[in-house]
Symmetry: C2
Subunit: 577 residues, 2 copies
């Protein structure tokens, strides 16, 4: 490909809309253009990268006996009613009526389609286990698309579904898929990708893992223990709670005016008591109920919405903004003393366990209670874990290490689904003993575009991406200096056609631009090997070969160039296996 013909302008200015590095470089390098909020077109360099990532994924899926299929993007609502997700999922699921007035949806995942396909084709135990996968467009109407390809509404996803006749078989396959994912991410250039335990969320099922790539701008928090290696998504991270003893002791219940106390810290200061003795209330709205959820927890802990969701068995979000309880004058002063427990779903976090004297809201604006012993107001409270693990907390797994928290991007996930979908959708097979049974499922996803963006987040310098050889849009960036010099032009053209004919992937900058412009563009395209043809180099009978990662910068005799770059490419590829 000649760079002069390549569609996609490159530019130097930092795009104002791009907060993430990958977003900025993909705009600046002519990889992507936004069509509408959270929906992008891919230009040729991005499409080439994506195709290579898809090939890697396909090879690894085939290697674990995956059978590639294709499900539709558009499905009738009936399938989703069978699984129960038509009503369980809110506005993320796009619904529309077709010309015949039938309710349709755009696939955001394809468990329903997979069961629909498999339930007529796998009626005998002899067919099991099997895995089917597809690489295809999905649509998820995200409320807040962000970060270029990191969180979009339309995206290409590899989604795989396995079917088993026993939990043991599922677990064995799940391990294979886990290892397959490790290979995929390593081959794509993310050698430091790692898996964490995660929450199954709307997918259902029990065990699940997310694969993560560390990234300062990532949306996820990952909790890890440097001692035992425990790793978990913050959503489900567990830690050993440090019980609080000591502090101030109150003698009697007393309602106190606390004007101008905006924060927990203000209140603590007002009462001259440690923040651990402050009892905090967080109000959430649950999707399945009109009753608000109130979580009480110790002042130095934060609520973990995912853990709350798993307690109330419904999506929850913190109630804020217009028209919510946040406008109520008592908001910010909620406490368990005298509250009407019938009106709310009340949850006590385990951080409260064992506390004696506390300060809590008096359910009246600008008033707090001093409570000598909180236990009597909590009744037969069951303490549950609905708070976030904190950096420095003790690891719950080894009981030794102090937890660390990092930001990361989720690049893939695997789920043990169990029979959630197969049961509801009436999928049955005849077992060896002639009995009808329900298959056990696993599912396995990778967002292709997000993976590309995550590689860029991990592998770049301040001038552009440093694409790994395995997924680079081209292998070789051939660049002329003084292209009007006849010898330069002739040698470059000859090299271009000989390399291309031998199957090398070459982007050839044949433009009549300054070296500065050419090198800046080359940096933005991030091609691993650069070959420069210049009068100076040719005088020495050489081409100049360098790598985007700066490891190599060599003068290579003209006659050796092909052998040299072949070895270089092979070396780079072998580092990714």
């Amino acid at each position: 490909m000649r760079l002069s013909r390549l569609l996609g302008e490159r530019y130097r200015e930092q795009p104002s809309e791009a907060l993430l590095i990958s977003h900025a470089f993909m705009l600046r390098g002519g990889y992507i253009r936004q069509v509408t909020n959270g929906i992008y077109s891919l230009l040729p360099p991005a499409k080439r990268i994506v195709a290579k990532i898809e090939d890697i994924i396909r090879q690894e899926m085939d290697a674990i006996d995956g059978q590639e299929v294709l499900f539709p993007v558009v499905m009738s609502s009936e399938l989703w009613e069978e699984s129960g997700r038509y009503s369980a999922i809110s506005s993320e699921l796009v619904r529309f009526k077709d010309r015949g007035g039938r309710n349709m949806v755009l696939g955001m995942t394809h468990e329903e389609a997979a069961v629909h396909l498999a339930r007529t084709e796998a009626k005998s135990h002899t067919k099991y286990p099997f895995m089917i996968y597809q690489i295809q467009t999905k649509f998820r109407d995200e409320a807040r698309p962000r970060g270029g390809l990191i969180r979009v509404r339309e995206f290409t996803m590899k989604d795989a579904y396995s079917f088993h006749t026993s939990q043991e078989c599922l677990e064995q396959y799940y391990d294979e898929a886990y290892k397959s994912y490790e290979r995929i991410f390593k081959r794509a250039g993310l050698k430091d990708a790692f898996a964490v335990k995660s929450d199954n969320g709307m997918m259902g099922g029990s065990v699940s893992h997310e694969f993560m790539s560390e990234c300062e701008q990532g949306e996820d928090s990952v909790v890890s223990c440097p001692v035992c290696g425990y790793k978990s998504n913050m959503e489900v991270a567990e830690s050993i709670l440090e019980k609080f003893t000591g502090g101030v002791k109150f003698d009697s219940l007393e309602k106190v005016s606390t004007p101008d106390c905006k924060t927990i810290e203000d209140v603590a200061q007002f009462f001259d008591a440690p923040v651990q003795q402050m009892m905090k209330a967080v109000v959430l709205k649950a999707e399945n109920s009109d009753k608000l959820v109130i979580v009480f927890l110790r002042g130095d802990y934060e609520v973990n919405e995912t853990k709350v969701r798993n307690v109330v068995q419904a999506n929850v979000e913190i109630a804020t903004g217009e028209g919510t309880v946040a406008e109520h004058p008592c908001y910010g002063f909620i406490g368990p003393v005298g509250i009407n427990k019938d009106n709310f779903t009340i949850i006590y976090d385990r951080s409260l366990e064992g506390l004696e004297s506390v300060v809590c809201g008096a359910n009246e604006k600008d008033f707090h209670y001093k409570v000598p012993s909180i236990a009597e107001y909590m009744g037969d409270a069951e303490f549950v874990d609905v708070s976030k693990a904190r950096a420095g907390d003790t690891c719950a797994k080894c009981g030794d290490g102090k937890l660390e928290i990092k930001r990361a991007i989720e690049i893939g996930n695997i789920f043990q689904l169990g029979t959630k979908y197969s049961e509801k959708m009436g999928m049955r097979y005849t077992d060896v003993d002639g009995e009808l049974k329900t298959p056990i499922m696993g599912c396995y996803g990778i967002g292709v575009g997000r993976l590309m963006a995550s590689v860029l987040e991990a592998l770049h310098d301040d001038r552009g991406p440093i694409w790994p050889m395995s997924i680079a849009p081209w292998q070789i960036h051939l660049c002329t200096i003084r292209p009007n010099d006849e010898n330069v032009k002739a040698k470059a053209e000859e090299l271009y056609s000989s390399l291309t004919n031998k199957g090398f992937e070459v982007i050839y900058d044949d433009r009549n631009e300054s070296p500065g412009v050419k090198f800046a563009d080359a940096d933005l395209l991030g091609v691993p090997v650069r070959v420069v043809v210049s009068p100076k180099n040719l005088d020495q009978g050489c081409f100049e070969v360098s790598t985007r990662d700066k490891e190599i910068n060599d003068m290579v005799p003209v006659d050796n160039i092909e052998e040299y770059v072949r070895k270089l490419i092979d070396d780079k590829l072998s580092q990714l296996i």
Copy 2:
């Protein structure tokens, strides 16, 4: 792949819902399953075929300097409002609101997306010409999906868009694309595919061609001249009209009661006059007007809706059914004598030109007029061509041959779009002279799934598909007879792994089934080369090799098998170039 593991049941019964051969075999062979009306999932054999077709298309698009991109399936309505198609296209275009209440559409073609992408990236004449293409899911809410993958609502399409600075450049590229399409269809196995002139329809522009594959069950009628080779879609086919002279002569205008005359032939018989003297009326509903369109034409001609559409510049459909003019008592008795011409858009077909005495409807139930000279009732009628060419008509191109009509399936199309989209969507580039100009576009489509089905329509016998080597799901079908025979099993397993390791694509029927079942399944999978391992063959030191097209049936010594099948595969492939 072991057949025992392959997902997808095969069966022998003719599926009642399948009228087309391709539909029936794709269901029976485990290639496709319907998810909902006109929407299918592809099972592994179909997915493998589709992937190979996509590869062929990709290679040929790259060979004519195509740059692969990816546009989104979901777009905001704004782009489609820019081009005017948001209102111009009716219910085929799926519209919905996203969670923010914005109007969105599902892409049915991507001219808008292509211009959106290209208009920011090709502002200088130096970038032209260029072509971008994608292979991606489209959705078109067809009123009447039919024939399995022949007419569906969701489909994978290769759509390409070229941009030029002159009509000459467009025409030159159009020719290249034309030849590229010929190569694609030949490589996919349709050596008899041919191009016909076609109507541009909703795409706009002037010249266009459809590529066709002959098929008895095809939806399209193709008109061809055996003398000069003229080929045209019926929609735009031209012929030399045979003027009618002679017949009966009426002396005066006379209204005649014509009870029980249901058809034109009945009326002709009633008046004892040739059908050419009957004046027929066809009533159509146009999308852009409340006025009905009435086409008058000679009794022996049929109306061509596409030609009418091009006259009234709007989609039309023949008004029939409940709540239409077809319920009016005059319907079936419409004539130009005394009709209120202000209430209708009236079109006279050129078949009427020069007629004198005719019989026409009297605008009253069961009455006709005998008209001595029709000219006075038609006023200054302009005669236009809105009737269908007929088999046996004289070719308009050479004036010699007698036209033939065949049924065919459209497998691809190419359009010279002109500036329809670029003009409306404000795409401009700076020309050599510094002036802002509007690029000229072409577009080029191939439906991938339909192409697969069309190959099956063309290449099959009564037991299943005969896939061409280039797109067959596998190259070799390895089949055991008496798989419980230790020697058979050992030799088959050994052959399977050695062929697979050497890169051959093998489907291995390792099941313990009867030869009858195995061969029936092999026929349904349509793999070009079959290798049978049986005790009898092994006694002779041979495998039995045959081809699905029955050209070859050989005993091949065990040691020669690899060389033999390699040559066979190469031969089969070379026949497709």
